[in-house]
Symmetry: C2
Subunit: 276 residues, 2 copies
């Protein structure tokens, strides 16, 4: 992925394939930063990723090499936040770009998405959309593509990861956009004209509900729906496992601080972290 | 229905059960208006309804009596337009009222719904909602109830019909309201707290697609979706029959005239009445 993106002129973190612990040290010297190691298969939601600094014990640095797949070393990017640019593209080449969102991560897992990314300068948002549209066109993507980006502290955009499917960072679009990422994915696959990706409200906030020590979920609906008639609860019906994305909640409106409070309250209540 | 509504103080057209053609003439004299005859079972979408005036031949006046069910005679109301007040009510008695809509009829069939009803005075809208909430409470309705009303030329509201289910006049809420009538119907049946019925846009316009001499539907999507990325097409997958409601289209936004043009264009194009 890194080779191909670099080949089509898309900015990525500096990177190279490493063979062993000595290779990691050499990469750190080359980059002049701490290093991120990634197994090149099987990673998601922070799995298959190691953060390496000068104090990391050698046996931890050796861990990724035990997976039996090539290991990628990347510079540890000094980023202000993570963004996601979601696009949809159909076989005949029509493409639409959703508003660029901020993706809030905790322990390598997306926990919250704010659409659009607050305070993102217009030219940087357009640049992120252009990167995603370029990737979709160059890789001949059909359907939804999410491009996850670092916004660096010095204002650059670097591609972190690609997801060639309807993506967690696009779930806000179910209620928040004229056409949801799922509808546009289907339109794209069917080669029907794509629907407008425009936002329907000034802000939409989505918070994931991650698995853990959850009690029964259904009774929490009664309290939350009574408390907040504008709250949308999505539950995937998956088995409960710690850290797994089991569902999400969405709210939309004008006042970002209030929306974030409402969404986080609901997610925390479903999880049982708060009881009122 | 008329007896029960009158009993709970809800205004209806003047009415009485008639036994024969002579009874119809007598009702016309009593009301001082033309008469509407309705069979008391089996009617929908204009079926089971006869408009009778002084020039109607006796054999037509006699028609409804051949259905073998009691026949209701009602005054022919001098109305400016038809409105619909949709509410949802749950077993524990919570209820929500959607914005009151205008329902445009052609040949006894609803062809268009405008949400909210343009130019409806606030106090009259509240009266319509109060009527619907009263009917729901008095009849112990669980789920969605649509109350179809005449807005008379002298500004009164009279109940025309009831529909105790998600109703055509509420389809606009799928995209147009915070909580669709279908979601609130399910919440009501499950006795979960109801969601906000508030409108999401200044206006939402829904136009039905009625069956007739239709060619293949699917190819029309390509033109319509390309022409209008904000258009929402709903197709029910029913067999095609003249006058049958086969699907509907919805648009929402600020400019009512433009919304009506877009929605009618799409419905007429799907029907094949226009070809561009």
């Amino acid at each position: 992925m890194r080779a191909r993106l670099t080949g089509i002129g898309v900015a990525c973190p500096r990177h190279r394939i490493v063979e062993d612990v000595a290779g990691v040290a050499s990469a750190a010297t080359e980059f002049g930063t701490d290093v991120v190691l990634k197994t090149t298969r099987g990673g998601y939601d922070g799995k298959g990723v190691w953060m390496i600094d000068a104090s990391t014990p050698a046996d931890v640095v050796a861990e990724p090499f035990r997976a039996g797949v090539p290991v990628l070393a990347e510079e540890r990017v000094d980023f202000a936040r993570e963004l996601s640019a979601v696009v949809a593209r159909s076989p005949h080449g029509q493409a639409v770009a959703y508003p660029v969102v901020e993706s809030v991560q905790r322990d390598g897992i997306c926990v919250e998405v704010i659409a659009p990314a607050p305070g993102l300068p217009e030219d940087r948002a357009v640049e992120a959309q252009r990167v995603a549209l370029t990737v979709a066109a160059e890789l001949d993507v059909v359907g939804v593509l999410a491009v996850e980006l670092f916004e660096t502290t010095d204002g650059r955009l670097l591609v972190n990861e690609l997801a060639m499917r309807p993506h967690n960072s696009g779930h806000w679009s179910i209620e928040g956009a004229v056409t949801s990422q799922f509808e546009n994915h289907l339109r794209a696959v069917l080669d029907l004209p794509l629907g407008s990706p425009a936002a329907r409200a000034p802000y939409t906030v989505m918070v994931n509900v991650l698995g853990g020590d959850l009690a029964e979920i259904y009774p929490t609906y009664r309290h939350l729906m009574a408390r907040d008639p504008g709250l949308k609860v999505h539950w995937y019906g998956k088995g409960i496992r710690a850290g797994r994305k089991l569902g999400h909640v969405t709210v939309y409106g004008d006042d970002l601080a209030s929306l974030r409070e409402r969404a986080w309250h609901a997610a925390n209540y479903i999880r049982g972290d708060i009881d009122e």
